[in-house]
Structure formats: C-alpha cells, structure tokens
C-alpha cells in the first residue's frame, strides 16, 4: 500500500481528537478507539451523523455529550440519508455564498451493523447511488448490542445470540454474514474497505484515503463486543486480531472496482482459536460439522477475494487507482 496516507502513531497521538472521558461505553469496548482514530486521522473539520445504537446512546446522554465535533443523531435506519441532507445543504449554501467556499468540511456517518447491513441498508444504498460526498463507517460488532445482543445479518454462522440462541436442536445462527463491503463496492462507489480496530495503521490509512476522495466511501471496521461475544474486557484488540489472523475477517479494499488484499496472515491461526476466545461460540465446539461449514465459508471468501484481486493483473494495474 502506498504510504502517502500513513500517519505515525506519534502524530496520531498528538492530534488526539477523542471522545470526552466519561462516555458510557462498556469497559473494554473498542469503538471509542475507532472514533478517536477516525477524528484524529482527518485533516479536515468533520460533521458526524450517528445511527441509533451503542455508539450513539453511550456518547450522547444529555447533558453530557462526548463528541468534540458537530454531531447529529436522527434515527436508527437513516444515518446515510441524514448525512445526505447535511451534505446537500452544505453544497447549496456554498453555492449561494452563505458558507464560504474555502471552508472545506468532510461528512462522516457512523452506524452499527444493524443500522448498516439491515434496517439502514436502503438509506445507505440510496445515498451511495446518488453520489453524496461522505464517508460511511460501519463499526461491526456482529449483533444488535444496544438492545441486548440480538442476531443481525452480520452475526457469524453458529454464533449464539438472544434471537439465535444455541438450543437443543439449533446451534445458534443458521446463516452466514452478508458481504457488506462487496455489496457497497458493487454500487460503483470509488472506495470501499474492510479494516479492523486491531490494525490501527491500516485503518488510519483507509480513513485518510477515503476522506481524500470525492464521492461516497465506505469502511467496515471490526469492533468486538465484550458482553455480546463473551470475553474478558482487556481482550478486545486481541480478539479482533485473531479474527484477522485466522482469516475470518480479511483486510482488503476496493478502489474504483479494483480489489486489493491488504494483509495476508503469514502463519494463519486456526479458526478454532477464534471460536474458543468467545462465549458466543462455546457450544459450537461440540458441532464439528458447523465448524467445517464455517471453514468452508471462510475459504470461499478468500477464493473470491483472490479471484477479484486478479483483475489488477489482467488490466495491468499495479498501483493505487
């Protein structure tokens, strides 16, 4: 990856645009780090729209707002439509001379997996198709955590949640995750990427790249959930790392239709390590067929990504596009 978008850890720390201390995210929750990295990465002033969900409720309990930037929460399924409106207003007001044209502002929407893969997909798809200039960041914790750990279409196969509980006849969720980054890339937007909170450098680069592009951009960042997944609260980053190292959550990007895998685990960790690290998969260890099915799915995903990456060779695209 070309390094023009990198930021040193020192510089990132110096910028330190963060949520105010005292927000109510669970101990160990990694999305405050996602917010801090995002806001610190930006070279521009940003306006944020936030979908209903954990991030919104824990950072905005009146009268103690934690956000250091203009922020708007509208409803659960409409963060993308809301930011479309803000961005449209910005364009109109610049055109009419109300807002000075040299005041460059970037627009970011944050949504959980429920607000993005499920109920909010229509509004996100519409906004992407219309080509608004905004970055949508999905923090993917693989469930509706705010309402008490229900399955979403991002919840992995086999995971036990309160609406896909492991029982006597069912072993948790029966369906695989939706490939949200591919779905967004298929809209023909200029940039879509998958990242993880555990790989800060990769994530920061992706945010900076996305913000440098005019038009709709999308990043899905893996963000484990302490109570939802069932692991000790000091292990969030580690769990996210195992997801990447086991190949369960590949880091890749799609730029103008060209796929690129950003990281290949050198010594892949067995998927069983990922499953063993969390309570939501505890029952699965008694279902070897389910584990096989999960492995098949992961291999299938990698085959797909590697195939898609070949387009670069065919078209002779070596660098960023």
């Amino acid at each position: 990856m070309a390094d023009s978008f990198s930021l040193s850890l020192k510089e990132l720390a110096r910028r330190n645009k963060s949520l105010a201390p005292g927000h109510r995210a669970c101990a160990g929750c990694p999305f405050p780090a996602v917010v801090r990295m995002t806001l610190s990465a930006s070279d521009y002033p940003v306006v944020v729209a936030n979908a209903t969900g954990c991030m919104e409720v824990t950072t905005s309990i009146f009268p103690f707002g934690a956000w250091p930037v203009p922020w708007i929460h509208n409803a659960f399924e409409n963060a993308a439509a809301t930011i479309s409106g803000v961005e449209a207003a910005y364009k109109a007001l610049v055109r009419k001379g109300v807002v000075p044209a040299d005041k460059k502002i970037k627009f970011i929407a944050f949504g959980g997996d429920g607000g993005t893969y499920d109920i909010g997909l229509q509004s996100l798809s519409g906004a992407a198709e219309r080509g608004h200039n905004f970055l949508y960041i999905l923090y993917d914790n693989e469930g509706y955590m705010n309402t008490g750990i229900q399955r979403s279409s991002s919840t992995p196969y086999g995971a036990s949640t309160t609406t896909s509980p492991a029982g006597k006849v069912l072993h948790g969720k029966l369906q695989h995750k939706k490939p949200i980054v591919d779905i967004m890339a298929a809209h023909g937007i200029p940039y879509a990427a998958q990242a993880s909170v555990s790989h800060w450098n990769d994530y920061v680069k992706k945010v900076r790249k996305a913000l440098s592009i005019e038009g709709p951009t999308f990043i899905a960042v893996y963000s484990p959930c302490v109570p939802g997944w069932g692991y000790p609260e000091n292990k969030s980053i580690e769990v996210a790392k195992i997801a990447v190292e086991s190949g369960f959550w590949p880091l890749y990007e799609v730029e103008n239709g060209y796929y690129k895998i950003n990281y290949r685990p050198r010594n892949p960790v067995p998927i069983e390590e990922f499953l063993k690290s969390q309570a939501r998969f505890a029952h699965l260890l008694n279902y070897p067929e389910a584990i096989e099915e999960l492995k098949r799915f992961i291999q299938e995903r990698w085959k797909f990504l590697e195939f898609m990456e070949k387009r670069r060779e065919i078209d002779g695209v070596t660098e960023n596009v």
Binding site: P70, W71, N78, T82, G85, A88, Y90, K91, A92, R130
Partner: protein, 395 residues
C-alpha cells in the same frame, strides 16, 4: 391595500404548490413521488433542470429518507421543503416527530389521500390525521389559491416559531383541478421571506454542538414540555403572519377558521378543505328557505384553535362536524372528538354529532351536503340521533 402586482394564472393544485416552491427557492428539497402529489416533485425537478431555482434537489429512494435528509439539511441551516401524500407521509411518520422535536422549520406540501388497505389513490384525510400528534403545524386549504399562499406563509410561520408545517390540499379534487390562482411576483416572495436564521447549525464546526442526543427519565419530559410551549406560541405567530400577509399583499385569508353566514346562525356545520365549498352552497340553499344555518371552515388543525371555535359556536344550538377520516375508535372521527372536547365548557353547550363522509374519494354531492344540514336541523329541534353517521356509503 398594497401596490403589489398580482398575476392571475390558471393552475392545478399541484402546479400551485410547485410554483410557490419555485418562488420560495429553498436551499434543499428532498422528495419522493407518490400519487396524487407526484407532479410537485416532477415540476420542481424541471425547475432545477432549467436552472430556475438554485436548490439542491435530492431525489431520495423513499419518503423516510426524504424526511431524514430534510432533517439533516435543516440542521445545517438550510431552508428545506418536501412534498408527499398518504403512504409517503405514513412512511415519514417516525421522522416527523424528530423534525418537530429538533425544532426544524421544514415545510411539507401535502396532498391528502386515503391510507391503505385497501389501496386507494383518492382523497380523504386519514393520512394527515394519522400524523396529527407528531408536533407539526397542520394547515388545510379549501382550494389551490389558498394552497399557494399558505405554502409561502408556512415558510414564514415555520421559521418564526421553529416548528415544521404541513400545508394540505385535497387529492385530485384540488391537486388536479384547474383554478385561477392569484400569484405574487417572485421578487416579492423572496423579499418577503428573506434568509433563514437558524436556531443552530451543525456546519459551525468551530462551535460544535450535538443534535438529537439521548434523553433519559431526567430530561425528556422537560424537553417535550418546551416543544408543547412552542406549539402554544405558534398560535400567535400564525395569527401575526397571516394578518400581516393579508395587509401587505391585499388579501383576506382567514387565520384559523372561516365563518360563513354564522352571524345569526342557530345551528352550524364544521367542515374542512374542499368539502367546505359544497357545504357553503348547501348553507345558501337552506338560507333561501329561511333557515338560520352557518358554516365554520376549520383551516388550522394543529395547533388546535379551540378558543376560536368556542367563540364561533357559543350561540348555536346544534353542530354537525364533518370528518373525512375515521379514527376507528367507534366514536367518530378526529375532528369531531376535538371539537366536542373544545366546546364542553361552554355555558350554552350545543348538541353535536359527527358525519363521516368521502372516504377513499367517495363523491360528496350537494344532496349529501343538504342531507347533513337537515340532520343537524333535526338535532337542533331535539330529535335523538346517532352519535356518528356515515354519509354516502352503501350499508
């Protein structure tokens, strides 16, 4: 009388709405088509395509997103409008409450149409009555001319009190019927409205604010209470704006309600929107026969102008309230219930009954209007009648 040049144009209700929007030249319009309001979006798109407005037009993928984008744009300080009808308004329902509670002066051109099921594209008021508690000001117009002027006034009202306003016209009856509309000049409209001065602005990143945070048990009630207070104050604002508009441009639009031949009325009908035209004719017919009957056309339904109705009805013996929707409560329509409640404390409390009519666009002929007047006459004369009657339906 003012010197303002007025231009008479033959316009349909939808054209009148769209023309007013062109003159208003909002910063952002986000909208989605639905019969019978589709033309508003189409005509406005053409204005955008022809450069007749410099509005940012967002052709969203649903009404839910239309209102959501309007909310986003309005928080960024823009003057914002949209248009819809029926299922579209119902799909906006969740976000209508957010627009009003965030005190955003969004203006909605609404064309009344029945709600599904069964699916029906014609006029009744079940759509807007369904959002009556959403915190929006609601203005019901009798004809396209009033719709045109009310939409312009709505921008002023909304931006003075910082509450959203929907202005309604009856689907097809008005939206597609051609009328003479007396329009103002574009310059005059733009000068009259000036620029929006927002309460707050999320583009002001040097002074960041958080809009729409979580209120728990300790603040929600107080914030709602403030919103209710704003709605109370909206009554003064509506009165000021319409009175001033009449004076400035030489009109005599009623403020909250129009009284027709009410001076010495012994009994009366309360009606809204286009049906009031037919009802006025029925009143005339009965007056010819020496009947002391009058009509009150209710124009503003939210905030509910109960003081005005108490004044109009303090001397009548019986009232028939007309509803073009039913609340399916088994005790009549929404207008009926609110009017009855408003008159409960009068010293000379009139007898009141409800007439539900015209659902799904069912025609409302003069014969039905005369039937209603005659029933209210019987009510006045002491006859015991049903609480609610359904007029014009096969039973």
């Amino acid at each position: 009388m003012s010197e303002t040049l007025k231009v008479k144009q033959a316009l349909t209700g939808n054209e009148a709405f769209a023309f007013a929007m062109k003159q208003i030249n909002p910063d952002v319009v986000a909208a989605y088509p639905i019969t019978p309001a589709t033309e508003i979006v189409q005509i406005f798109s053409k204005y955008v395509a022809d450069g007749e407005v410099d509005t940012e037009f967002v052709a969203v993928e649903s009404e839910h997103s239309a209102m959501s984008a309007c909310i986003g744009a309005a928080t960024a300080g823009a003057r914002v409008m949209t248009g819809t009808s029926s299922q579209g308004l119902a799909l906006m329902h969740e976000v209508l409450y957010i627009a009003s509670a965030l005190r955003l002066p969004i203006v909605l051109a609404e064309v009344n149409r029945a709600l599904s099921a069964p699916i029906n594209i014609h006029c009744d008021h079940s759509d807007t009555m369904g959002s009556r508690d959403s915190g929006w000001i609601q203005i019901y117009c009798e004809n396209a001319n009033e719709g045109y002027h009310s939409l312009i006034q709505a921008v002023k009202i909304a931006e003075t009190i910082n509450l959203p306003v929907m202005v309604t016209l009856d689907g097809f009856i008005i939206s597609h019927g051609m009328e003479v509309v007396e329009t103002l000049e574009t310059d005059v409209v733009r000068q009259y409205l000036g620029k929006r001065k927002p309460l707050y602005n999320v583009l002001d990143y040097e002074n960041p604010i958080m809009v729409g945070p979580l209120d728990l048990t300790d603040y929600y009630f107080e914030h709602k209470r403030q919103q209710i207070e704003a709605m109370k104050k909206a009554k003064d604002v509506i009165e000021e704006v319409i009175t001033d508009y009449n004076k400035r441009f030489g009109f005599d639009f009623p403020v909250f309600a129009e009284a027709y031949r009410m001076e010495d009325a012994e009994y009366a009908i309360l009606s809204m929107s286009s049906a009031a035209g037919t009802m006025k004719e029925a009143v005339d017919v009965m007056r010819e026969k020496g009947e002391k009957v009058g009509l009150v056309r209710l124009k503003v339904f939210r905030p509910f102008p109960y003081e005005v109705l108490q004044e109009f009805f303090k001397n009548v013996k019986a009232i028939g309230v007309m509803d073009r929707s039913d609340s399916v409560s088994t005790m009549g329509g929404p207008v009926f219930n609110e009017v009855r409640s408003a008159l409960y404390d009068l010293d000379t409390r009139p007898r009141i009954m409800n007439f539900v009519f015209g659902l799904g666009g069912r025609d409302f002929p003069l014969s039905d209007a005369l039937y209603i007047v005659n029933r209210v006459k019987e009510l006045k004369e002491g006859k015991t009648l049903d609480f609610v009657e359904y007029v014009g339906v096969r039973e």
